[in-house]
C-alpha cells in the first residue's frame, strides 16, 4: 500500500510539472497584457516601462525560469489588476466554490444513487422508465436555464430561498465558510441543486447500468439461494459493487465542478472562483489565470489520488494487485 501511495504521488508531481509548462506557454500565446493595461494613447516608451515592470521584456526561457522558481516558493505572481498576490485573490474565493461543489456532490449522490438503483432493479417498470427518461432531461436541460427556473420558483414565486449571492460566513481555520449558518445554507441550496442536476443524471445512469449488470451475476443468485432478504442483497451486495464506477466518475466530476462552476456562479451571482476566472480572462490578468489553472491542476490531481485510494478501499482486488506492482 505504501509503495503504491508513493508511486502515485510521484506520478502526480510529474503531471503538475508538465501542466505548469503547458499553462505557461499557453498564457504566452493568448495575448499581450500590455495592450490592455496601457492606456490607448500610451507611447512606445510607456508601454516598454509597463512591460519592464511586469518582467515581460525578458526572453521567454528567462520568464519561464522565474515563473518556476517563484512557483516553487508558492508565489504565482501578483495580479496585474488587483496588485496583490494572485494566490491570495484565488484562495479568498476558493471556500465559496469548494462549498458549492461539495454540496452539489452530496446532492448528486443523494438523488442519483437511490433513483439509479431503483431504475436498475426494475428496468421495465413505469418508475424505471420514468427515472431513465428524467435523467435525459437532466443531461440536456441547460444549466443556466435550470438555475433561472429555480430562482423563479423558489425565490420569486414562493419566496422561500434567496435568489443569489452568498450568505453570512463564519471563519473556520482562517477560511470563510457559509456552510455553518442557516442563512448560508439557504443561499447554497439553489446553486448546489443547479450544479447537481447534470451530475445526478450521470450518477443515475451509471448506477442503473451497474445495478442491471450486477443483478445478473451468479453471486446475486447465490445470495438469493442463501435466503437473504432482498433488502440486504440490494444494500450490501449490489450497492458495494456499483460504488466502484460511481466513485470513479464522481471523483472526476468533482474536479470539474470545482473548476467549471462558472455558469452556475454567474447565474446566482455567487462569488466563487469561476466568476473570477471569467473576469480575469477578459482583462488578461495573466498571473490570476495561471494561478487559477495551476490550482485547478493540483485539485484534480489530489482528487484523483483520493479516488484511487477510495477505490482500493472499496475493491479488494485493486488493493492487492497494485500493492504487488
Amino acid at each position: 500500500m505504501l509503495v503504491y501511495l508513493i508511486r502515485r504521488i510521484g506520478q502526480s508531481l510529474l503531471v503538475v510539472a508538465v501542466m505548469a509548462t503547458l499553462v505557461f506557454l499557453a498564457m504566452y500565446a493568448v495575448g499581450d497584457p500590455v495592450d490592455i493595461l496601457a492606456s490607448p494613447d500610451a507611447d512606445e516608451f510607456e508601454r516598454r516601462a509597463i512591460a519592464q515592470r511586469l518582467g515581460l521584456d525578458r526572453p521567454l526561457w528567462e520568464q519561464f525560469g522565474i515563473f518556476v522558481w517563484n512557483a516553487l516558493h508558492g508565489d504565482l505572481g501578483r495580479s496585474f489588476v488587483y496588485n496583490v498576490p494572485a494566490v491570495d485573490v484565488i484562495l479568498q474565493r476558493l471556500p465559496a466554490t469548494l462549498e458549492l461543489a461539495l454540496a452539489g456532490l452530496v446532492f448528486s449522490i443523494l438523488i442519483g444513487i437511490p433513483l439509479g438503483v431503483l431504475a436498475g432493479l426494475k428496468p421495465n417498470s413505469l418508475i424505471g422508465r420514468s427515472v431513465m427518461s428524467g435523467s435525459i432531461l437532466g443531461f440536456s436541460l441547460p444549466n443556466f436555464w435550470i438555475g433561472l427556473m429555480l430562482i423563479l420558483l423558489f425565490a420569486v414565486e414562493l419566496r422561500w430561498l434567496p435568489a443569489g449571492g452568498r450568505g453570512p460566513t463564519t471563519s473556520v481555520l482562517g477560511l470563510h465558510f457559509a456552510l455553518f449558518t442557516w442563512d448560508g445554507l439557504k443561499h447554497l441550496l439553489l446553486p448546489a441543486l443547479t450544479l447537481a442536476l447534470y451530475k445526478s443524471a450521470l450518477v443515475i445512469r451509471i448506477a442503473q447500468a451497474g445495478t442491471r449488470e450486477v443483478m445478473l451475476q451468479d453471486y446475486i443468485r447465490f445470495a438469493r439461494a442463501k435466503g437473504l432478504s432482498s433488502r440486504r442483497i440490494v444494500l450490501v451486495h449490489v450497492l458495494k459493487n456499483i460504488l466502484i464506477p460511481v466513485v470513479t466518475v464522481l471523483g472526476l466530476e468533482l474536479g470539474s465542478m470545482i473548476a467549471f462552476a462558472v455558469v452556475t456562479e454567474t447565474v446566482f451571482a455567487y462569488p466563487g472562483m469561476g466568476k473570477l476566472l471569467i473576469d480575469s480572462i477578459n482583462r488578461l490578468d495573466r498571473p490570476i489565470i495561471v494561478a487559477y489553472l495551476m490550482l485547478t491542476v493540483v485539485i484534480f490531481v489530489i482528487i484523483n489520488l483520493i479516488v484511487d485510494l477510495l477505490y482500493a478501499a472499496i475493491d479488494p482486488r485493486v488493493r492487492l494487485s497494485e500493492a504487488k506492482g
Binding site: 453471486y219 447465490f222 439461494a225 442463501k226 435466503g227 437473504l228 450490501v236 458495494k240 479488494p316
Partner: protein
C-alpha cells in the same frame, strides 16, 4: 440409500408401494417452465417429474439447453422473468412450494433448500469478505450472535478441507483458487444442513483432481447431514461415481430414468446410449469417438413428436408423428421411446 425406490412419474405411485413406501423429501410433478422471449414463448421445462428421497443423489443429465439448470432453479423458486413456472407441483417434505409467497420461500432457501453453481469464480461476491458472506447466510435464518455465527462458519470451512480457516475467513474471494472458492460455496450452502442441495455443475469448471476431491467431500457431507442432492451435469463420468439414480433430460423432458448402474450399462433410450457412447474411454483408444449427429434443438423450434427424432438412428415415421409416452420398465425404470434399445416387455405399471 433408496436407490431402487420408485421413480415412476405417476402421481398415484406415491404411497402405494406397501411397506417400503417412503415419502420423498423432494417431489417434482409435471413441472412446466416457460420463457417469454421476443420470438414467442418457449418451453424450457416441459412436464418434468421426479422424486428424491432422503440422502439420495439424483443425477440430472443432459446437454446445454436441455432444461436441467432451469429445473434446478425452479426448485428454489429462483426462476426470474422472463421465465415463469407455468404448471406443476414441487413438494418439499410434502409442502407445496409453487405459489408460495416470496417471503416464505426465502425462509426455506438456504435453510431447507440450498444451491451451488457452476462457476466458483462468480458465485462469491468479489467485494465482500468470506466471513461476511458466510455469517449473513447463518443470520438470515437463525437469530445468533455475530460471534457464534463466525464460529460456525469457521467449523464449516474446516469441514470442507480449508486449512487455517480463521485466517481465510477474513480473506476476499479473489485470494482463493477456484477449487477453494467452490469449497467455500459448498460450506456456505450446507451451513443449515439443508434437506435438499441442488448442485448445478459445480465441478465442471475445476481441474479433474480437484473435481474428484470435491465430489468426495460433498458426498461425505451430504451423507452426514442426510441431505439429498440433485446433481445437474452433462458429465456422465461424474454421475457414474456419485449418483444413486439418474434422469436424462432432452429438450425440456426427462427421456429416461433409472438406477445409475442400470441406465449406464443398459440404456433404453437411444439418446442415453448416444451420450454414453460420446464419453471418451481407454477401451476405445484409436477408434474415432462416437458422436450424436446434429445439435440440441433450439427451444424455440423443438421438432414435433419425439424431439430427438432428427438425430436418432432408430427414428421411424411414428417418432415424427406421435409423442412417445413415459413407459415403465423393470427395475423401476422409465423411458420415453417408441424404439427402446431393450427388447423386453415393459413392466406392469
Amino acid at each position: 440409500m433408496s436407490a431402487e425406490a420408485s421413480s415412476l412419474p405417476s402421481p398415484q405411485g406415491r404411497g402405494t408401494q406397501g411397506g417400503r413406501a417412503m415419502t420423498p423429501i423432494l417431489s417434482v410433478r409435471d413441472l412446466v417452465v416457460t420463457f417469454a422471449i421476443r420470438e414467442g414463448v418457449v418451453t424450457a421445462v416441459n412436464g418434468v417429474s421426479f422424486d428424491v428421497h432422503r440422502g439420495e443423489v439424483l443425477g440430472l443429465v443432459g446437454e446445454s439447453g436441455s432444461g436441467k439448470s432451469v429445473t434446478g432453479l425452479a426448485i428454489l423458486g429462483l426462476v426470474d422473468a422472463p421465465g415463469r413456472i407455468e404448471a406443476g407441483s414441487i413438494r418439499l417434505e410434502g409442502e407445496e412450494l409453487i405459489g408460495k409467497p416470496e417471503r416464505e420461500l426465502r425462509r426455506l432457501r438456504g435453510k431447507r433448500l440450498a444451491m451451488i453453481f457452476q462457476d466458483p469464480m462468480t458465485t462469491l461476491n468479489p467485494v465482500l469478505r468470506i466471513d461476511t458472506q458466510m455469517i449473513e447466510a447463518i443470520r438470515a435464518h437463525e437469530n445468533v450472535s455475530e460471534k457464534a455465527a463466525r464460529d460456525r462458519a469457521r467449523q464449516a470451512l474446516l469441514k470442507v478441507g480449508i486449512p487455517s480457516p480463521e485466517e481465510r475467513l477474513t480473506a476476499y474471494p479473489h485470494q482463493f483458487s477456484g477449487g477453494m472458492r467452490q469449497r467455500v460455496a459448498i460450506a456456505t450452502a450446507l451451513l443449515h444442513r439443508p434437506a435438499v442441495l441442488v448442485a448445478d455443475e459445480p465441478t465442471t469448471a475445476l481441474d479433474v483432481t480437484i473435481q474428484a476431491q470435491i465430489l468426495a467431500e460433498v458426498q461425505e457431507l451430504a451423507a452426514e447431514s442426510g441431505t439429498a442432492m440433485v446433481w445437474i451435469t452433462h458429465d456422465l463420468s461424474v454421475i457414474a461415481g456419485l449418483a444413486d439414480r439418474i434422469a436424462v433430460m432432452y429438450a425440456g423432458r426427462i427421456v429416461e430414468t433409472g438406477a445409475v448402474a442400470d441406465v449406464l450399462e443398459r440404456p433404453i433410450h437411444p439418446y442415453t446410449a448416444g451420450l454414453i457412447g460420446s464419453v471418451p474411454s481407454r477401451n476405445k483408444r484409436g477408434v474415432p469417438l462416437a458422436q450424436i449427429p446434429g445439435m440440441t434443438p433450439s427451444l424455440a423450434k423443438v421438432p414435433p413428436a419425439c424431439p430427438f427424432n432428427p438425430r436418432c438412428p432408430r427414428a421411424s415415421v411414428t417418432c415424427r408423428t406421435i409423442m412417445p409416452e413415459p413407459t415403465p420398465y423393470d427395475g423401476a425404470r422409465m423411458a420415453r421411446c417408441h424404439h427402446p434399445l431393450i427388447e423386453q416387455a415393459p413392466a406392469a405399471a
